[in-house]
Amino acid sequence: MHLAYPATLSALLFCTGLYGVLARRNAILVLMSVELMLNAVNLNLVAFDVWLSKAAEETLHSGQALTLFTIAIAAAEIGIGLAIVLAVHRNRGTADIDRLRDTAERPGPEDPDHDGLDPDDPDDSDDGPDRDARAAERPGQAEKAEATT
């Protein structure tokens, strides 16, 4: 089999996961996309290991060993990631990544009296419906932000 086939499939899967990480809004969907990227790397490792084990005389089978390690680390990562997402959801009431911007850059020093907890502060340049939806739930969010610090 040509090495180009698994390598191409791996590249395509990695870019699919890249799109998912960049475009998704729910944190769990972002974790799924990270899993896709990890699997693409695993496929690459296995394919190159099979190629090298036939091409070279003596190998360490490092590709397969690293694939096993990657799978174990991915399992640990998904456990920790889901625990973090559930903790955030319990505290904030949302698993929406676009709303978790408490540590975002503030627009400027023109309002130094802000306490850094105002969730609608950095969104002044956003588009219209998003800002309206944000304004609709502003009291709930302010209260939630204060309650969870």
């Binding site: 040509h2 180009a4 998912g20 799924m32």
Partner: protein
């Protein structure tokens, strides 16, 4: 001398052309055809996973993707990796993801805000990087041939021998990492500390947490009853004052801290 060099070059050309004849760029064998077909299914399922608007369907299409990757491992003769993939990814990771979706109360139907506003930028980045990667990879490994005949390169005996001969120390370090991840997940997902669990029975914890309230509250046990109380209607700046009026009520009205808590569970 030039004659011998020319003959050598000719012989080299003949051998490369013979190699190109046996493993041409598009001369599919049965394994290659199966690999490409399963790869198409896998890639399509991955695309549906990252583009569907139904969150549970995304997790179920992820099962198809990971199962297709397991079949690809089998086609590459890496059988142990394939079954580990089935066990861990399809068996536990997807189940964990489904649990996460259920616990965060993901909507079952279509959710219109599954994609964020920058999806066109993300699409551009993904397509450009995919084009670059595929071009480079195909150009680099166009003539590289994996010999799948003979003894399987990824048989379980080979994998186990190399894992426990050459990779013992990383293997043990990995077990320590898994233990750390286990402890970390338990610590992260533990619901409350003992101070808050004692809260509805005594009513003392909110008054103890109230003096620290005007600043940002330091600990979550003190903040949780405040949030539960704030949802009943006392919001914002009026918070310190009911906190002082609270000890008189805390002795008599015992069920009060519990009622907003159920309400909180219902709202979310």
């Amino acid at each position: 001398m030039t004659l011998s060099a020319t003959a050598g070059r000719l012989a080299a050309e003949v051998t490369t052309s013979a190699a190109a004849e046996t493993h041409g760029f598009l001369s599919p064998t049965g394994v290659e055809i199966s690999f490409v077909l399963v790869g198409l299914v896998t890639f399509g399922a991955a695309l549906v996973t990252v583009t569907t608007r139904q969150l549970v369907h995304a997790a179920l299409w992820l099962v198809v993707t990971l199962g297709g990757l397991a079949v690809e491992y089998l086609l590459l003769t890496a059988e142990f990796i394939a079954w580990v993939q089935v066990l861990i990814y399809v068996g536990s990771v997807v189940v964990l993801l489904l649990f996460g979706l259920m616990l965060t109360r993901a909507p079952i139907g279509r959710s219109p805000d599954a994609d964020s506003g920058n999806r066109w930028a993300a699409l551009t980045v993904a397509v450009v990087s995919a084009a670059a990667l595929v071009w480079v990879v195909v150009d680099a490994f166009r003539t590289t041939w994996i010999d799948l005949d003979g003894p399987a390169a990824g048989a379980t005996a080979v994998t186990g021998a190399s894992l426990f001969q050459n990779w013992v120390l990383p293997f043990e370090a990995l077990s320590v990492l898994l233990l750390a991840a286990l402890v970390g997940a338990i610590v992260l997902s533990r619901k409350t500390t003992p101070g808050t669990t004692a809260d509805p029975s005594t009513g003392k914890a909110p008054t103890a947490g109230a003096p620290a309230k005007p600043g940002p509250a330091k600990s979550r046990p003190a903040a949780e009853p405040e949030s539960a109380r704030a949802r009943t209607g006392e919001v914002g700046p009026a918070e310190p004052e009911p906190a002082e009026a609270r000890p008189a009520k805390a002795g008599t009205g015992e069920p009060r801290p519990t009622a907003p808590r159920t309400d909180e569970g219902g709202v979310r």
